[in-house]
Amino acid sequence: MDVKDIIRDENLVYKRTKLLTDKPLSYCPGCGHGVVHRLVMEIIEEMDIVSDTIGIAPVGCSVLAYEFMDIDMQQVPHGRAPATATGIKRCWPDKFVFTYQGDGDLAAIGTSETIHACNRGENITIVFINNGIYGMTGGQMAPTTIPGMRSSTTPYGRDTSLMGNPLKMTDLVVHLPGTYFVSRQAVHTAVNVRKAKKALRMAFENQKLKKGTSFVEIVSNCPSGWKMTPVQANKWLEENMIPFYPLGDMKVNGEIVKQG
């Protein structure tokens, strides 16, 4: 029996989306970025909107997202993706525009752009990868680094009396009148991946309604920055990140369903 015999239509339960290129991912083994890339591309394929979709790649580990996503994309300065997305969407109100951003990008240097895009209710989708650290620059503290968590600039653990408190950006945007859908998900288990996909799908479908910003946080990992194996990282995420950043939909159809 060769591969062709096994991969027959009736046996086929899963197929890689054709919107991911063949380029090997530049992400570290076990990193959540790759999973979220796949989910976003699956959704765009399933909704059949590729010819109307423009994605924005940030500065961060996912700066090269355009190498892996086989769609039209723009790469933008650190933190400014929501502004760029605004510029596109205002000119092309019927296109699907999304940003894909890390926590340093979205919640530190780009805080202003994030809050104002969400507050204006730009009809875009924001995909926010919260791994609690600056992955690309080598594991420095992020605004989302949780208390006590080690990073290369908090080598003894984040001391909030010195470094200030983590910023729960999603809890903040949920209260802005411009957000229509706000959800926090994770991708470290198969069940979570399915839930995350559902939320992301909703976040893209909402663009058809033109009722405001859809914002999905993915609580993710950074095995390299956290200095853990992928398995350890996912366990640490489950035990430490998720209690601090609880999962679930927070705003649906413009109504707050769960406080942060």
């Binding site: 010819s51 933008v76 400014r80 760029t84 510029g87 205002r90």
Partner: protein, 356 residues
């Protein structure tokens, strides 16, 4: 003849934007150019042409909105004044690196720092030598009248798309605020087709995906990209140099000045000629590319050049490079919002070259 109106320079820019078929304006208020956005808001350009107008949360956001729109092939623009233009520099560098066409207006005020709201020309270096990080150039147009404020908007967009490069209109508080008669050009249509070889409007089955980026981690490829950019800037130098000459042909002394300084010097030339001093004015209209050749050719026959700027001496460096030591190049500038009078300039000319 087009419609005649009495307008402020800033208003002329705004009206010209609508008429030029601009698709989107993103800005943030700052004196002395806030009238651009105010005029647009009052005109409701979405009703006139469908043009988008959005007041952004900062100059940084505004330039990145321009980036997004420009990356889809739309005619996008922003305007600001000196401190705001400083904030935009990272975005402008990305626009140049990603080769996106757009129009950026700087109605210059005095600096450094918060400086003054008075007019100045002290952002010449920033506009012509790069401004942000990396090896890049903007094509820089310097209007000297309200008429040119209007006319340089469609010209700026044409050049931006011709070279796929950001174009800057480097104006100043005088030209922005003063009122003059302006003849307005007819309404131009907005773009309806978008070059599918590079714009990100959504990947269709008949083409590869388009990527707007300034990043290349492969040093060899990045260097190649920089060489391509330089070749483009070289083409601008060959094809886009613009300047105006006033009474230069028989001149012994040439004043070199752009924008509002050129207006002052125009009067100085008259006063000088009345006194029998053969003065002329060479007004660079493009600051990059700079009119080097014409200045150099006059350097073979005149006795000297006097550069006049509302700065402590910036463009004079380019004049000196053009003259290349052939004759004396003197400089006189006022700053901080102070404006020299034509008599004052004449006195300097006499002191430095004749009486002195």
């Amino acid at each position: 003849m087009g419609e005649l109106r009495l307008m402020k320079g800033n208003e002329a820019i705004a009206e010209a934007a609508i008429r030029a078929g601009c698709d989107a304006y993103f800005g943030y208020p700052i004196t002395p150019q806030s009238e651009v956005m105010e005029y647009l808001a009052a005109e409701e350009p979405h009703k006139r042409t469908g043009m988008v107008l959005l007041q952004a949360e900062s100059e940084i956001a505004a330039i990145n909105m321009v980036y997004g729109a420009a990356g889809t092939g739309k005619k996008a623009m922003t305007s600001s004044s000196s401190p705001g233009i400083s904030l935009k520099q990272e975005g402008i560098s990305y626009l140049a690196g990603s080769e996106l066409p757009c129009l950026i207006v700087n109605v210059v005020r005095g600096g450094p720092g918060l400086g003054t709201i008075g007019p100045a020309q002290s952002d010449y270096f920033q506009a012509t030598k790069g401004g942000g990080h990396g090896d890049y150039r903007l094509l820089v147009l310097a209007p000297a009248s309200v008429q040119e404020m209007a006319d340089f908007v469609p010209l700026g967009f044409d050049l931006a798309f011709k070279y796929r490069n950001p174009v800057m209109i480097l104006s100043d508080g005088i030209i922005g605020q003063m009122m003059e008669k302006v003849e307005l050009f007819e309404q131009r249509p907005r773009n309806t087709t978008f070059d599918q070889s590079w714009t990100t409007t959504g990947k269709t089955p008949d083409r590869e995906r388009n990527i707007i980026t300034s990043l290349d981690l492969d040093p060899a490829k990045m260097e190649l990209h920089n060489r391509d950019l330089q070749a483009k800037y070289q083409k601008m130098k060959e094809n886009e140099v613009r300047f105006e000459e006033i009474e230069c042909s028989d001149a012994d002394y040439i004043l070199v000045a752009y924008g509002s300084s050129a207006r002052i010097c125009q009067k100085t030339v008259k006063l000088a000629r009345q006194k029998g001093i053969k003065a002329g004015l060479l007004r660079p209209i493009t600051l990059f590319p700079f009119p080097t050749d014409i200045i150099n050719s006059y350097a073979q026959k005149v006795k000297g050049f006097l550069t006049i700027e509302l700065s402590m001496g910036q463009m004079v460096e380019d004049v000196r490079l053009a003259v290349n030591g052939l004759v004396k190049v003197e400089f006189y500038g006022r700053s901080g919002g102070v404006i020299p009078s034509p008599d004052e300039v004449l006195k300097v000319l006499e002191q430095k070259f004749i009486g002195g």
